[in-house]
């Protein structure tokens, strides 16, 4: 029986061998499909890169489009001995690097086979032409067209964001990207990556064993076309943006302009910023940028939290009016400051006394707003300062302070509004009172706001009590169409607007703090701020909107360590308003523009001075 089993096994062996032989006979002799493929063809996938979407400004001006660049490709198997020095000169490379690279190809030649690799990335069209003329000297090398971002306007470097090639870490987190792809890393390029990038496609070619492309595979039936990226329409006004960047030259800080009725961001300048020339070739500038002490990659407009300074008096005033502890005609005295304890005084500049609310806004009187906050926090309606403070905090948060507004740029900060609990923790419950937090009256102390939030305050006042989340992409999403109402009723805002109007449009002798901002016919309303900070000279702050009725633009300017709000931020913001509303700067104010443009405020020494 056993040897019979052996025979069965041998028969099985024969059957299996016969099956293998039959299949071989079929594919080698019978089947015509393999006969056709006997031409030694092979499929080659050639990636088709989609053009990335453009970025437009609000008026249809192109902020970002694409320009043609060339990658130099190499097929190591086809390379013949060549003049290394000549190639190095043509491609701007180090001859040693080329030698090392060729050595590497030699080492991995079995792995590389007939494949074509990238040799030199992103060669400009001009340099490529020089190479193309003598390409025949370098068999195995060839150019391949790629696109690169191109910026017709020098506007909004930080805002637009930069592109860079994906690294291994990124690919492992986003498997849809392949080595050699580029991806938006910051700003709008990052926030709208999914929209802008489009979808890669490919051609399938048949190739013979010597890497010669013969034909489309199945006539291109299996090819996949690339889907171009979608364009992105921003709310930016390219000319205003560019103008604002010019004004912020040699200054640290930011300008934000918002259209109050829609919440659309018209300009968002962060200085020092990144020139678009650098953006286009970001990787080669990355090191120097990241070492720059001015932190040009940091978008101050949304990522820096500052004390708001005197512009915050507007909020305190509105809260006081709404709570009924303040009326516009209520007068408070000021004798160079406010004595909140026997020995401690919060200083003020010298002006007439007593004054009413409008004058207090106009003159930015510190004492007046100390009285205002005192009456808010010591309101008999509330059981104790804890409760009244909690109510005050609610009001402040309803203006969008203390948490990110939710704008569509990545990385927005929320700032800080203190809670009563915080003081309970520090001082013990019942052991603190208005005098403890007196500096909140004038926007100092535990407050932190971003310039965007300050600009949003300007828009809120311009709208008399509501704002739409500031945004930079034209978007019909409900989020960017719903008004947010503050807890202060609209009629109270008129009082503040009156004070802001006086601050700009009354003469200096009368006590106006921002008359430098006045532009004939524009009815600008504004408020200066001078924010004390531990880093050097005070920050110069200004918010304004115009015209007074049906405002079209609200601007916040924040110049770090530049001194008084009235000196720098005020003219900068008013120039922005004038540029936007009139399209140009009137001859009578050209001197101001010149002065602002030429000022270098990077190293203003800190001066001992009173608060204003």
């Amino acid at each position: 029986m056993e040897s019979g089993r052996s025979s069965k096994l041998v028969i099985g062996l024969c059957i299996v061998s016969a099956v293998l032989v039959c299949k071989l006979f079929y594919i080698q002799i019978v089947n015509k499909k393999y006969k056709t493929d006997a031409l030694n063809n092979s499929m080659v996938y050639e990636t088709i890169y989609p053009p990335r979407g453009f970025i437009y400004d609000r008026n249809g001006e192109i902020l970002v489009d694409n320009s043609v660049m060339y990658d130099i490709m190499v097929t190591p198997r086809e390379v013949q001995p060549f003049d290394t020095l000549a190639l190095a000169a043509l491609l701007d490379m180090d001859p040693q690097e080329i030698r090392d690279r060729m050595q590497e190809y030699r080492t991995y030649r079995t792995k590389i086979g007939w494949r074509t690799l990238v040799f030199r990335k992103q060669l400009s069209g001009e340099k490529y032409l020089r190479f193309a003329e003598v390409e025949y000297n370098f068999p195995g090398f060839a150019g391949r067209q790629r696109t690169r971002r191109h910026y017709p306007f020098n506007a909004g470097g930080n805002l637009l964001g930069y592109m860079s090639e994906v690294d291994g870490d990124y690919i492992s987190r986003h498997p849809e990207y392949k080595a050699g792809d580029f991806v938006g890393k910051t700003g709008l390029e990052e926030a709208n990556e999914a929209k802008l990038r489009g979808e890669k496609g490919y051609h399938i070619y048949l190739r013979d064993s010597r890497n010669r492309v013969l034909d489309r595979y199945e006539g291109g039936a299996l090819d996949k076309p690339a889907v171009p990226g979608e364009d992105v329409y921003t709310t930016i006004d390219a000319h205003l943006q560019q103008f604002g960047q010019g004004l912020m030259d040699h200054k640290r800080g930011s300008i934000i302009a918002i259209e109050p009725s829609t919440g659309e961001i018209l300009a968002l300048v962060s200085s020092p910023g990144i020139d678009v020339d650098i953006l286009a070739d970001f990787s080669s500038h990355y090191d120097s940028l990241s070492r720059d002490p001015g932190k040009p990659m940091f978008n101050r407009a949304i990522q820096a939290s500052y004390p708001p300074g005197s512009v915050f008096k507007l909020v305190n005033g509105l809260v006081g009016l709404q709570e009924g502890v303040l009326t516009p005609n209520m007068k408070y005295p000021c004798h160079d400051g406010y004595n909140y304890t026997k020995n401690l005084k919060l200083g003020c500049h010298h002006h007439r006394s007593p004054i009413n609310f409008y004058e207090a806004v106009m003159m930015s009187c510190n004492s007046y707003f100390c009285y205002v906050l005192k009456s808010i926090l010591e309101n008999k309606r509330y059981a104790n300062v804890n409760e009244s403070f909690a109510r005050w905090e609610e009001y402040v948060r309803s203006f969008g302070f203390g948490s990110p507004l939710g704008c569509d740029l990545p990385g927005e900060l929320g700032g800080n509004v203190p809670k009563a609990e915080r003081y309970n923790k520090i001082y013990g419950k019942g052991h603190w009172r208005f005098e403890t937090v007196v500096s909140l009256s004038i926007g100092q102390g535990e407050l932190g706001v971003t310039p965007l939030q300050i600009a949003n305050l300007g828009a809120t006042i311009a709208n008399r009590g509501w704002y739409i989340t500031p945004h930079i992409i034209r978007d019909t999403a409900e989020r960017y169409n719903t008004p947010h109402y503050t807890e202060v009723s609209p009629e109270q805002f008129e009082n503040v607007v009156q004070g802001m109007w006086m601050a700009v449009n009354k003469p200096v002798e009368y006590g106006a703090t921002a008359s430098l901002a006045a532009v004939k016919g524009l009815e600008i309303c504004g408020k200066t701020g001078t924010a004390e900070n531990p880093h050097g000279a005070d920050h110069s702050v200004f918010i304004c909107f115009a015209p007074r009725e049906n405002p079209e633009i609200a601007v916040a300017a924040y110049v770090e360590n530049a001194g008084f709000g009235a000196t720098w931020a005020c003219p900068i913001a008013s120039l922005m308003v004038e540029k936007y509303l009139n399209g140009e700067i009137s001859p009578s104010r050209e001197w101001l523009e010149k002065q602002v443009r030429e000022a270098n405020l990077l190293n203003v020494p800190k001066k001992p001075k009173k608060k204003g």
Binding site: E2, S6, L9, V10, G12, V16, Q28, K33, Y34, N40
Partner: protein, 428 residues
């Protein structure tokens, strides 16, 4: 008989000649696929062909030692400790080994890397043969059968845990050995039926797979009814058994998708799906097979001639000197060459079976069948893979694929058998 025979009369030259020819074919193919286009010599020690030649020399030295120096009795004596040692190595590699191509089965010792699973084929064969000598399968009872099953299953399970699918399939070849030694043929039939149902469940609608199961069971029932069963009680038993089998068949069909989705790894799923045409994948798994079949198919009747293959030497076929070496043969030597290789393998296996059968030593016989089964499984799976009959499973083609440790392991395995045969023939 009358004294010792001359040494050259004791060697099974048929097997040795097949062995030499297969190596030479492999060596030339390795040269052709890896370095011929560079203009290097076939003897260049920096190239794969040179290294393979060096390993062949080492294999021959080992073979001579085994044939002429080491007494064959040694193998049976050391089979239990050797088996144990290799199992420990398999466990060690599972814990400390390096991962290559998705399976954790390699030891890295300086410049040399090797897979203990290569060795385990030899030691499992030896121990299985050792055990079969003292156990008659039909009379062994469950205890003896259990030991036999464990000898095969222990290394197989560890290797499965290492993620090396190919070697598992090779272990299935031991079924043939057990069959030869008395295991009921129904087991092989049962196994074949399960595989068939699994495949049917994957590629056909549910009702087709279920009716296949029903037809198989019905055929079984009728066959037994006609041939074996006489008494009434037996008929009832048979009916119950058939119903049980039907239920088991249905279970296989219904559990297929679960096994397929949950137990198999994604790449294994892919390969099976591509094999049965469930999925087109011209750039992924399908690429290998597609390119491999184009290369082989382009060879025609007599091929393009030595080193004139273009598909394989230009890097279109991956792993062209290891797992896909058969492509080079198919492309450059054509159908005639392929036929030759398959014939050489078949002759070799047949000669081994014949020599094993004629041995008086049960140990030699069982071991010989193990060697034949291993070579057979390797050949079938490897060649089947390159021509689209089997899923893509990375196992070498014995004596032909590039790889020193593989060549050495197969040579040692073969020469141990030749040595046993030789010593028997010296005296009888």
């Amino acid at each position: 008989m009358n004294g010792r025979r001359k040494w050259y009369k004791t060697i099974d030259w048929g097997i040795v000649i097949c062995y030499f020819l297969l190596f030479v074919i492999g060596w030339m193919s390795i040269y052709s696929s890896s370095s011929a286009s560079e203009g290097a010599s076939i003897f260049d020690m920096g190239e794969r062909s040179g290294k393979q030649l060096l390993w062949f020399g080492i294999s021959l030295v080992a073979g001579c030692l085994i044939m002429f120096v080491i007494r064959p009795q040694l193998w049976e004596v050391i089979s239990p400790p050797a088996y144990l040692l290799v199992v420990l190595m398999l466990l060690a590699v599972l814990i400390f080994g390096a991962t290559v191509n998705g399976s954790k089965s390699w030891f890295q010792l300086g410049p040399i890397s090797f897979q203990p699973s290569e060795l385990s084929k030899i030691t499992t064969s030896l121990l299985l043969a050792h055990q079969l000598r003292s156990t008659n399968l039909n009379r062994a009872g469950s205890h003896g059968q259990f030991i036999l099953a464990a000898i095969v299953a222990i290394p197989a399970l560890i290797i499965f845990a290492e993620g090396e699918t190919g070697t598992i399939l090779v272990y299935l070849g031991f079924l043939f050995v057990l069959y030869r030694e008395g295991l009921s043929g129904w087991w092989i039939a049962l196994f074949g039926a399960v595989v068939l149902l699994f495949i049917m469940a994957l590629i056909t609608p549910l009702w087709v797979a279920l009716s296949t199961a029903a037809v198989l069971v019905l055929a079984y029932y009728i066959f037994i009814r006609k041939t074996v069963v006489r008494r009434k009680a037996e008929k009832r038993k048979l009916l119950l058994a058939s119903l049980g089998l039907l239920a088991a068949g249905a279970l296989v069909v219904f559990s297929t998708s679960f096994v397929f989705d949950k137990v198999l790894k994604p790449y294994q799923k892919n390969r099976i799906e591509v094999l049965f045409g469930i999925k087109e994948d011209p750039s992924g798994v399908g690429y290998n097979v597609n390119q491999s079949m184009i290369a082989i198919g382009s060879g025609g009747l007599f091929g393009k001639g030595f080193t004139n293959g273009t598909q394989t030497s230009c890097g279109f076929v991956p792993e062209q000197s290891t797992d896909f070496i058969f492509c080079t043969i198919g492309e450059e030597a054509g159908f005639a060459g392929c036929l030759g290789v398959i014939l050489l393998f078949s002759i070799m296996i047949w000669r081994i079976i014949k020599a094993a059968d004629s041995s008086r030593e049960p140990f030699t016989r069982a071991y010989g069948f193990c060697v034949a089964a291993c070579i057979f499984m390797h050949m079938t799976i490897n060649i089947g893979m390159t021509i689209g009959l089997m899923p893509v499973i990375g196992i070498p083609l014995p004596f032909i694929s590039y790889g020193g440790s593989s060549l050495l392991a197969f040579s040692v395995m073969l020469f141990i058998f030749l040595s046993m045969v030789r010593h028997e023939r010296t005296y009888f």
